[in-house]
Structures are given as C-alpha cells and as structure tokens.
Amino acid sequence: MERVGIGETATRSDAELVAQCQSGDDAAFDELVLRHQQRALNVAFQLLRDHEDAAEVAQDAFVRIYRSIGGFRGDCEFTTWLHQIVVNLARNKHRWWRRRGRHAIVSLDCTVETDDGALDVQVAAPTDAPDVAVVKAEFVRLLNARMGELPPKFREVLVLRNVEDMNYDQIAATLGCSVGTVKSRIARARETLRERMKDEG
C-alpha cells in the first residue's frame, strides 16, 4: 500500500485538493496555499502597490477560503474563486486607504527588498521571436509608475489579463461583469496608460 507522498500531491488538481479540504484534510489546504500564494500575493501587490497590504490581503484571502471552502461547489475554477476574493479584499483596502486620505503608493524602483520577500523585475529577454514585444527595463520602470496612477478598475483588468494571463471569459467571471465590459474596459485602460506614457516620454 503506497502512501501519498509529496511527489504525488503535486499532481493533484485544485479540485481534488478542494475536495480533500472539504473532508477536513488540512494538509490539502496547505498544499493549495503553497501552490497559489505567489499568484494571490502578486495580484494583490499589483492592485495595491504596497507589499504589506498585499501580504495581508493575500493571507486574508486564504483565511476566507479556508472558512468557506465547505460551501465551494466548484462552479468555477479554484483560481477564479481565489482571484475574486483577492480583488474584493483589495478593493476594500483601497477604500480603507482612501478614507484615510492615502492614495496608492507609487514606487519607481523596479526592485524592492522587503522583510517579507523580494520584488524583482522580469524583463522579457530581447529575443527576435515574432509577435513577442521586447520591452526594455526603462519602459517597465515607467509603466510600473503609471500603473499605480491608474484607477483601480483599470488596474484590475490589466493585471488579470496580462499578469495572470486570463482570458476575457475568466476575467468576466472573476469580476462579475460581462465579457463586453471586460473588452471595453481593457481597451480604455490601455488607452489611458498609453497616453500617460506618452506624456512622460
């Protein structure tokens, strides 16, 4: 009788892990956290532009998942559910800061070292592959600053689309809006971002 080892848990799907969580297996929950912590934290960070806030939101998202996983019926992907919670918590955090008169923190540094982890810039390698835009570090640094100035709704769709690489259907499911809304919002977000980038350079 072979026991389930670490190597095998890695092959289990999210849905299987969720089912095991629902039957009281805390190790399965740990596995879900370890598998998706990077994703949750990074989305939160892109939305909030603050590492401490992002860590808090990402952790709270998993806490919320742990407490309500019994009611999760698998109507959507686990990651969609996770993204929904992260986005909602980040929105709450935005409001929380806005009430205190603090706006988004904009960091012009591409690399930020914190106690909780390092942020590093991943700039696409200058390959000659067709259809793959080559972005320079300077461009990313500028874009990073401009992203922080975007309205949260624009930031959400851009992050979900290009950071999380979700398609429009998944974004619509995450944000609870129509695909048409996602399409037009992404177009407007890019337009706004492009204009602000032009002003800069």
């Binding site: 740990d30 956290v33 370890l34 912590q37 990077q38 934290l41 990074n42 939160a44 960070f45 892109q46 590492h51 401490e52 992002a54 860590a55 990402a58 952790q59 709270d60 998993f62 806490v63 742990y66 407490r67 929380w96 009430r99 591409c110 690399t111 930020v112 106690d115 909780d116 982890g117 390092a118 942020l119 590093d120 810039v121 991943q122 696409a124 259809d131 835009a133 972005v135 461009f139 990313v140 874009l143 990073n144 992203m147 851009l158 992050v159 689309r161 290009n162 950071v163 690489d165 398609n167 429009y168 399409k183 037009s184 992404i186 177009a187 890019r190 337009e191 971002l193 492009r194 980038m197």
Partner: protein, 348 residues
C-alpha cells in the same frame, strides 16, 4: 482612416486574441493596409508585455504560517497592530461597536432605575436578612385581647372580624448570626416606608409591585422572630393601623403582599427594644377597642402556633382576638427585630 475609428476599440481585443474569427479576419485585413494601426497594435503589444513584466511580489517563507495563525484567530504579534489600531478602527466598524455599547449601557441603566420602587423595597430587605441577628426563642406568653372595632384610623374595617395571634419564633429556622450593622438599611427602609405610608398609598397601588414575600425564599421568612396572624376582611386597614403604631417606635412596615390563599402579609421592622412596647401598644389598642364595644375577652394560649389559629369565642359584633407573645424583647441588644404579620380572611 475612416476605418481606423471604426476598428479602434477592436485592436485591444485583437492583441488579446479575443476576437471572433470573422472579426479577426476583418481587423487583420485592415491592419495590413494601415500603417497607423500597425503601429497601434505594436504599442498595445508592448504595453501588454510591459504589464506582464511588472515587478512581482514574492511570498515570504512564513506566508503559510501566517495564514495558519490567522485561521487560528491569533492576534498579529509582529507589533504592527497596536492598541491604537484597535481603538481607532475603521469608521464602519467603530460606529456599530459604539452603538452596541450605548445599547448595552441603556439596558443596564433601565434595569437599575426602571423597577425602582421594587428595588427600593427589596434592598433593605435583603440587607436585613443578611445582617441582623436572630433572637433566642422566647417562651411564648400570650395575651389575647378581643376588640369589636379595629383601630380608629381604620373605620372601614369596623365590621371586619379581625383576629390577631402571635406565635413564638421557635418554628422559624434560625438565621445566621452576624454582628454587621443593619441599622442603616433599616433606616433607609423606614424613610422610604414612611414616605409611602404618609401619602396613604398603603394598599392596591403598592401591592402590585410587591411579591417578594410571596415565595418561600422570602427575605423575612427566616428572619421574622414572630408571626402574628390577624383575621380581618381588610388587610389594608390592618397594615395602616400597624404602620401608624410603629412610627413613634422608630419602626416601619413593609407593604402588604399576597401570601396566597387570600392571605396578605407584611413585616414589621422594629428596634429590638421597641418590640415589647409595640406589642403592648397593639394589645392595648385592641383592648381599648374591645372595651369600648364591651366585648372584652382574654385568652391565654401559650402553646399556640401559627398553624393553629385561635378562633374567637366571642365573635359577636365583629371582635378581634389578639394573641401576642410577650417576652421576646429585652434579652439581647439587636440591630432590628422583624415581625411577620399575616392577615387572613375571617372564618365565619
């Protein structure tokens, strides 16, 4: 150029490969002949790649441990969350908390002040129960006085056939001896009772508030040194008459309360040294009344108990037999003496 404005919003979706095949073909056809849109597509691709290349946050090694800690509901021990953070919570959390606090305070305040009349009577009673000392059981020497008419301040009971009897306190469970002063409680009680009695609110309106002696756990049940049973149609008259008599003796009475089966009862609080004068006064008053009616009758029943009431032998004209045990006072100085007076309907 005219097609550009038409196709403009589609370019973003084209870059994301989110266009339906026919729409995609249409856009590609346009782009092929439009350098400006080719440039826009390139710009959009650069933007998308730039967003994808934004600095990424890496989770700390303790991320999972933090999640677990939060699930266990533990407080953040990293020191970021100070008491001030908790006190100055977000507005929408703080206001409901404060509103809740106000509601709790209001409920507490109403519990303290609304049933004030009841509290005012109950407090000294319990104080008495705790603090006063039981008297040694005296041998009950009884005097029976018969009166045809109740006391003068209660002419309404003139036709009532009242009978009073007192029994020794040996039937009463002894209360724990305690030297603590009950004088203050008794004093408060006296003030309160005098005020109430002075406004002639003796019966009816007061009775509805009073039920503390109704239960077996009555504060005076174990405290009453003697039980005096009075037969009368009108408990209010008996009450006011007794109240009138005890006032010069620095005593007080509790309001009457329903003891069940038509019996009303109340308690007399007296300085111990005034118990004998009270009883003598009471007996004399009854005698006086009886003499006036020329229906004087004396009985002596030392073995009387509260459960074996004396039936008046001379019941003509509505006599009142009073059986008062004497000798209950003068042995030891006490803070206060308590007599229980039961008013029972006359047996006809």
């Amino acid at each position: 150029m005219k097609d550009c404005s038409h196709i403009g919003t589609e370019l973003s979706a084209y870059v994301d490969s989110e266009l339906a095949p026919e729409k995609r073909a249409e856009v590609e056809k346009h782009i092929a002949g439009c350098p400006r849109c080719q440039q826009r597509v390139a710009g959009l691709r650069e933007l998308a790649a730039g967003v994808a290349a934004l600095p990424k946050a890496q989770p700390a090694p303790q991320f999972l441990a933090e999640v677990r800690r939060k699930i266990r509901g533990e407080r953040d021990t990293s020191g970021q969350r100070s008491w001030a953070d908790i006190v100055f919570r977000p507005f929408w959390v703080k206001v409901p908390l404060e509103a809740l606090a106000v509601v709790v305070l209001l409920i507490g305040a109403s519990a303290l002040f609304l049933p004030r009349s009841r509290q005012a009577r109950r407090l000294p009673a319990t104080a008495m129960q705790r603090e006063s000392e039981p008297a040694p059981a005296p041998p009950a020497e009884t005097v029976v006085a018969t009166a045809a008419q109740p006391a003068r301040e209660a002419p309404a009971a003139a036709n009532g056939f009242a009978r009073m009897r007192a029994a020794g306190r040996d039937e009463i469970a002894p209360a724990p001896a305690a030297p603590a002063p009950a004088a203050k409680a008794a004093a408060e009680w006296t003030v309160d009772q005098r005020g109430v009695i002075g406004t002639n609110r003796v019966e009816g309106s007061m009775r509805q508030h009073l039920d503390f002696s109704q239960t077996a756990g009555s504060p005076f049940v174990q405290q009453a040194e003697e039980v005096i049973v009075v037969q009368s149609d009108n408990p209010g008259t008996v009450h006011s008459r007794v109240a009138f008599m005890v006032r010069p003796l620095n005593g007080s009475v509790t309001p009457t309360s329903d003891a069940g089966q038509g019996v009303q009862k109340f308690y007399v609080l007296l300085p111990p040294e005034n118990v004998a004068p009270f009883k003598a006064h009471f007996t004399e008053a009854e005698k006086l009344m009886a003499r006036r009616q020329n229906v004087l009758q004396l009985e002596s029943k030392a073995e009387d108990r509260a459960d074996s009431m004396i039936v008046p032998s001379a019941s003509v004209g509505g006599a009142t037999n009073v059986v008062v045990p004497l000798g209950a006072s003068g042995e030891e100085p006490k803070q206060s003496a308590v007599l229980e007076i039961q008013v029972v309907p006359p047996k006809r």
